[in-house]
Subunit: 328 residues, 2 copies
């Protein structure tokens, strides 16, 4: 009997979840919910219902886990508490500063509905958070470093697109190699924002736009670019489509810590990701946690959880005995 | 109220546990148990009892978690089941092939005693196992690679020391850089034993020993060296002490996997360790899991667990709310 999954929201993330379910034979996609007209949405899977979001309540009892694929700005703060009362849910809420507030709201509703909700699932928050936590628990005397990239930042690309005279743009966040090397040496350096990452922008101008002015506006933009060494390349729309249409990302979580009676020994724990497709990797993490939500709910657990609360074995298709025999 | 820890076996690992406890303010070392005469054993901590191993039973109720620091060959197969009936215990049993059998024995005794036992804790088995499991659950279509080193292999060093004419020796296991690069490229190469690691040996000869014969014996030793490209250096005892007295180790767990409707996207997940002291790092992992054992037992859980069964939050000194606010 497979785990029945519903997808709410069919953008890059929803499509990624659909692809990931195909790789997990113990799962089955049963319905996709959309705010658009269902007949206008064409999905990849055959024989799967596409429904309007207003009909999701009717699917109670027919879906084991509902995966919420909306955005963190306006969708998830409303959707996750709402649907946690009806279903076991997973989201990828990634506004780090608002996680405690989101957790509290979702927890109350999941408890009320007797469901399990796992929030902030993905790679950061998600796998990066887990690695920060494991490494910090193992090496209490130490320092954490998180680097992102090389990868596309959607938020920064959008900020460039809002500049007058810009037709289209892609922004890459790139970790500085010397900073990575300094961290890996165990020197525990204090690094400024500028020392950790550079930003590279590929910009398509509107006809007649002033390139020098656009470049200046980007490079001095507060919060987004002013604190970084930023490079701006002007390219054609064709070149942007041909060479910059992917959504790669990744990064590094490194902890450098000391052990020994006099802290005489240095240890470096490093976790890194190199991802061709940011949304598809995030989706793959989400689908593994959907399995966990299903199993935890089946055991009678309820309430809001994060990756910190989920025992690793819940994520795997293998049984405990198989895991011990093959992966331990 | 701190978590009361006992250490059974005071070698490199036991001393490492003692050092790690010092870094964890919620823990307290209350007793060290040894097979030697207690008065002959001098420990680093002040005011801590050193007792004979035969007296450990008298400490029931006074120790929250007993950490077993014996060897996997003969100590732990007997000790872990025996003491799991009396205490919550942690071991670092690392004979991978015998883990299922060890688990079954320990589980029965821990259940009978109403205790929690966490076995095979360390980095391999341990953190490497966890990373293999997480990565495999996230990317079901993919391939795992584990590389060890650069580091000292105690077993291989011992094997060299048993060769006639050898006075002392240290062996380093070294991952092959080209193999690491091929794996990180996402090419999913099939790698032979010889392609993955080389072995470098530093050997001190007995007076009058035949160097050529010793080198030949080492390089052709079945299981240990015959399948590897092995380099043998003859050095003086002084040089061995000066340059090769540490116990560094480390390694890499890499999963290369595919996502997308047609598996068109490649992802690389990499976890690596660079350790100055293998036993102190292992001890640090063990101490974090001792906290987990204490908490799980306090919740009424019983039986044998592995790193796969322990929710990450149990390892951390921080509360759930602190973890969500600072590390998620």
């Amino acid at each position: 009997m497979s785990i029945k999954i519903g997808i709410l929201g069919y953008g890059n993330l929803g499509r990624g979840v659909e692809c990931a379910i195909k790789q997990n034979p113990d799962m089955e996609l049963v319905a996709v919910f959309t705010r658009r007209k269902p007949e206008s949405v064409s999905i990849l899977s055959e024989g799967v219902a596409v429904c309007h979001i207003d009909d999701v309540e009717k699917w109670q009892g027919k879906i084991d886990v509902l995966i919420l694929c909306g955005g963190s700005a306006t969708d998830l703060p409303v959707q996750t508490p709402k649907y946690a009362e009806m279903f076991n849910v997973i989201d990828s809420f990634d506004t780090h500063a608002k996680i405690p507030e989101h957790f509290a709201k979702v927890d109350a509703k999941a408890m009320a509905g007797g469901n399990v909700a796992i929030i902030s699932v993905g790679w950061d928050p998600g796998m990066f958070s887990l690695n920060r936590m494991y490494a910090g628990a193992i090496l209490p005397q130490g320092k954490d470093y998180t680097f992102w990239g090389k990868g596309v930042s959607q938020g920064h690309s959008d900020a460039i697109r809002r500049v007058e005279g810009v037709k289209n743009a892609k922004q890459y966040t790139i970790p500085v190699d010397e900073a990575l090397k300094a961290v890996r040496s165990g020197a525990n350096p204090e690094l400024t924002t500028r020392q950790k990452h550079t930003r590279e922008c590929f910009v398509v101008l509107e006809e007649g736009a002033d390139a020098a002015k656009v470049e200046e506006t980007i490079k001095t933009m507060p919060n987004y670019f002013a604190d970084y060494d930023t490079t701006v390349h002007f390219i054609s729309e064709e070149e942007l489509m041909a060479n910059h249409s992917g959504i790669p990302h990744g990064g590094f979580v490194i902890r450098s810590g000391k052990t020994g009676w006099n802290e005489e020994h240095t240890h470096i724990i490093e976790y890194s990701l190199k991802l061709d497709s940011n949304p598809e990797f995030t989706s793959s993490v989400i689908v593994a946690y959907a399995r966990a939500a299903y199993r935890m709910a089946a055991e009678g657990q309820t309430g809001c959880k994060t990756v910190f609360d989920v025992a690793p074995a819940y994520l795997s298709m293998m049984s405990g005995a198989e895991l011990r025999a093959t992966l331990l």
